[in-house]
Amino acid sequence: MTILAGIWAVASELVRSPLAPGPADVARALLTGIRDGTLVRALLTSVVRLVIGYGVALTLGVPLGTALARSRLVKQTIGPVVLGLSSVPSICWLPLAILWFGLSEIAIQLVVVLGAALPIAVATENAVKHVPPSIERAARTMGAHGPRLMLAVTLPAALPGILGGAKIGWTFALRSLMAGELLFVSGGLGQLLETGRDLGDTALVLAVVVVIVAVGRASELLLFARADRAIARRWGVEGA
């Protein structure tokens, strides 16, 4: 890290262009942004959006994936639609969302939810399909059936795969949100990036990128590291 920062500092000194700010400039931009509150406000706006959109995506994606795995009717009707839509980059929905909902939170959330829910649904479908049949048969012989079987046995058994989908969903949500905010004047880190471009402030742009990296890493550590450890403890190396 230190060596890389050193090389970066030397390189930017050699170039001596406002387009190539050194680490000191970026750090200064970060501090300014924190002190005057612009960066903090943007971060809060983005994180709140992310949490809401991701929460909605999870509550839609997991049941949808389960239904795709278990219901032939759902698979035959919605299955091809889900597969088709999941290959569309979610940002492509933004124009439509703006036409429908205007420049509103709903429009940007639509992009985030679509971006995250579909990969979560696809991963959940796979995970549920690959639950060993003997696990469910065993549960059925104990008298479990219907929703009870699903909630107490099938979903826990599919958890490692669902968690994998949840992780992918999170990164998709973050990407969709950033893309949405870039194109859409409404606060948030994405818009701050756009502001940096308008002002020709490369240091600010890089400072925002640093914050986005930090958000990604922090969510990895806070949200998923513990879940990963718990899965590894229960399933052994397999689930890790």
Binding site: A138, T141, M142, G143, A152, R234, W235
Partner: protein, 308 residues
């Protein structure tokens, strides 16, 4: 497990602590009856006959082994009794009551143990009780009793992947007994284990069976295992699955592989099913396959066209 691995001696019928521990297992075995049961699967027109009009009666508390090559419908019979699948024709009865679906009165032990990987051993064993809404204190007492019965009390806090195959299988037996079933259905429970562990678990099962008095229906493709454990061995034939022969094993327990009477029975049964085993092997191999001459296929009744 500290039991001796010297062959059948690990099978000593009762260990000192066991009988006193099983007091809270009051439900005895129930009888099972298959009355002219058949099963066909597949789309109409191109159905496959899995099981052809099979009738079988298992008395309460009896230990019956279903023995045969793959595709002979042994596991199918188990599934029908478990209620996991309905028969196409005929009736399956438990006691006087027709089987209409799975229920905790008929517990199943699978070949791969099928313990739930996300639950500790103890929670696995309490799971069927939790399903029935049994309160926590009762569950705890019951799981302790069962864990001690299968000698896994020390490992109660382990997750299944931390246990050996034999330990997982003993755990699965404990879980099957948790809801105090009348019938224990075992689908090749020891087939995936090494032979020493298998011998030990056979002994354990014999001990648990004699202590609890449950009815056991046990599927295996191992002749010695069947002769060692069963009151009665039911030989199965393939394509379609059906009963070939029933053989009562009227020998004192525990039975040793070295016992002359046991040896005679094992050889006799092996000879009877040799033809069926060969038939399956032939279907699963290409035309160049020749049945090995084991010296068991010399019964003229089964030597159909062997010399052509």
């Amino acid at each position: 497990m500290i039991a001796s691995t010297k062959g059948w001696q690990g099978a000593r019928a009762v260990t000192p602590e066991a009988p006193a521990r099983v007091v809270a297992t009051p439900r005895k075995g129930a009888s099972i009856e298959l009355d002219d049961v058949g099963l066909r699967v597949g789309p109409e027109g191109s159905e496959v006959e899995i099981l052809r009009s099979t009738s079988l009666r298992v008395a309460a508390g009896e230990f019956v082994c279903l023995l045969g090559p793959s595709g002979s419908g042994k596991s199918t019979i188990l599934n029908l009794v478990a209620g996991l699948a309905p028969p196409t024709s005929g009736r399956v009865l438990e006691g006087e009551r027709p089987v209409s679906g799975p229920g905790p009165d008929r517990a199943v032990v699978f070949q791969d143990a099928a313990l739930f990987p996300w639950l500790r051993l103890r929670d696995n064993i309490e799971f069927p009780l939790k399903l029935q809404g049994v309160e926590r204190a009762v569950r705890a007492a019951r799981s302790e009793e069962l864990l001690r019965l299968v000698h896994l009390w020390r490992f109660r806090g382990c997750y299944p992947h931390e246990l050996s195959g034999g330990m997982r299988q003993r755990g699965a037996i404990a879980r099957a007994l948790a809801a105090d079933p009348c019938v224990l259905l075992m689908d090749e429970p020891f087939a995936a284990l090494d032979s020493q562990t298998r011998e030990i678990l056979q002994g354990e099962l014999e001990r648990i069976w004699s202590a609890t008095g449950k009815t056991v229906l046990f599927v295996t493709h191992n002749v010695w295992e069947a002769v060692r454990l069963a009151d009665r061995v039911v030989l199965m034939a393939t394509r379609p699955g059906r009963i070939l022969h029933e053989q009562t094993i009227d020998l004192p327990r525990p039975r040793a592989a070295t016992d002359e009477n046991v040896g005679v029975l094992v050889a006799g049964i092996a000879r009877r099913i040799a033809h069926e085993v060969e038939k399956v092997a032939r279907e699963e191999a290409d035309d160049a396959w020749v049945a090995p001459r084991t010296g068991r296929g010399d019964d003229p009744r089964w030597d159909m066209g062997g010399g052509i």
